[in-house]
Amino acid sequence: MSNEIWVYIDQFKGTPLPASWEALGQGKRMGGPVIALVFGPGSQAIAKEAFQFGADQVLWSEDPLLADFRAEAFAGLVTQLAKEKKPSLLLVPSTTRGRDITAMVAAELGCGAIPEATGLETKDGSLRVTRPVYAGKLFTTAVFASGQTRIVSLRPRAFPMPEAQSGKSGAATEVKPVAAEADLHTRVAGYAASEGGVSLTDAKVIVSGGRGVANNPNLTPPADLADDKQKEVWKAQQGFKLVRDLASVLGAAVGASRAAVDAGYIPYAYQVGQTGKVVSPDVYIACGISGAIQHQAGMRTAKTIVAINKDPEAPIFGLARFGVVGDMHQILPALTEEFRKRLGK
């Protein structure tokens, strides 16, 4: 086994995900030569960035087999290379693609994988991985049996973003997958329903709405809406407009509680919580969210939580650094306006 630390650089359509550089920074901190793996379209350009973020060497491929992410093709190339060079550690950003890579490479190499790490340290020569379990209600220190490549996926925003150093470069080596198109059983037909906006997982600031978004007593729904449910959803959409306005001034992502998603106010892609996305922003502004334990599971690692809720007894205030007991429909427009002034937008 070599002493190399490999870092998988996740990208989408030629844009690397920030969590990739966080993983690279962690690899550097652990010592040993750091090799970045960059696969897919635009890899040569991403390789240049990888050197600036600290990679000592890059293995890249723009093979047509890797035009779109397919776990079998990408994990296949990682294992092909890993079998030959036997890195001691493979770090992977825990994105949707990264989690597939982690699982499949471990299955093929027959080695251990620890996903969703929030901490990583070497103590007495062994690697100790901290990760949340039971939806963050508990933490575990997970360890590997010795003697083989170890794989750890790193939760986005749990590790510091390294500074890019311009002018740094290194040896970029092209690699070729041995697999051919005929070996694969999947084909990417395209992309649909892209939600756009700031990705929740990468967001520094998130403004989130809950059931309270539908509770504006001063709104009168249009007369042509037939039933109460339609009226409620219409009201909620007006409420979410206030959430979006604030998010837009702050350059923030929009989130939602499960209650808002289940009531049909906003699509599931926005859901933060145990059965939605787990986020870790610098600031989380919860509007009209009571803060059920399942919601907390998705956002409690935010550095600063701001809660706006009518109910002073809402559990969300137990997590919040700043709280406003009041109606989000009145507070949010004022808050958006104030930020617009102060931030000069």
């Binding site: 499949m104 620890i114 990705s199």
Partner: protein, 264 residues
Amino acid sequence: MNIVVCVKQTPDSAAKVSVEGGHVTWGDAPLIVNPWDEYAVEEALRQKEKHGGKVTAISMGPESAREALKTALAMGCDEAILVSDAGLKGSDSLGTARALASAVRKIGSVDLVLFGRQAIDGDTGLTAAQVAHLLGWPALTYVAAVEEIKPEAKTMRVQRMIDEGRQVVEAQLPVAMSVVKELNEPRYPSFMGIRKASKATIPTWSIADLGVEASKVGSAGALVSWSEIYAPPVHKVECEVVKGETPQETARTLVDRLIAEKVI
């Protein structure tokens, strides 16, 4: 179509989970079917209703996991198998995947295996892709919509939820897939279903039945283990309540405080 759905029994999502004497405990909170797996069961049933065939639920776990399988049967699954053996205790995700892949092979001629995206206890989310890999099948993870399945042509087309939106993927059956919540609304067990489930015999498959190497599963085969488990350090947050005579004044004070504390 011959469909298999894998379910795990977990503590209720609202349970207060803590550590006592190095062991995880959840008080009197009930054990349930892992919430993500309910979407997998529902989708398995819908595909069977559309294309005909059979749905088999399998669960790996202790004897108590039989209850999770009864729920799956009550929802409408045709058969259930408990994968249980003292030698499977302490399996890591790859060990679990080896046992489940062997169970799928033993069932034979399976077209589709479904999983929830992760279990809400271990929260690893690795098993579905690992089972797929061990079987040599494509893995379709985070499936948010099944556009179509053509059992005759042995193809399927799904939308996967990715960080950036949706990826539309076509695959050749057999396939192992993991599902997310948007896929469907799980049904409740019917009265008839509950009655049927209570009378059903659920066979237990051991390591010997599965034909897996005992050294590759359970704590014997685990390459990953938990050396410590603990409650997260409590960050005592004192909530500073911001007040004002008008919403504007409240907003101004809040922004002052957020800027002063360098939060924004």
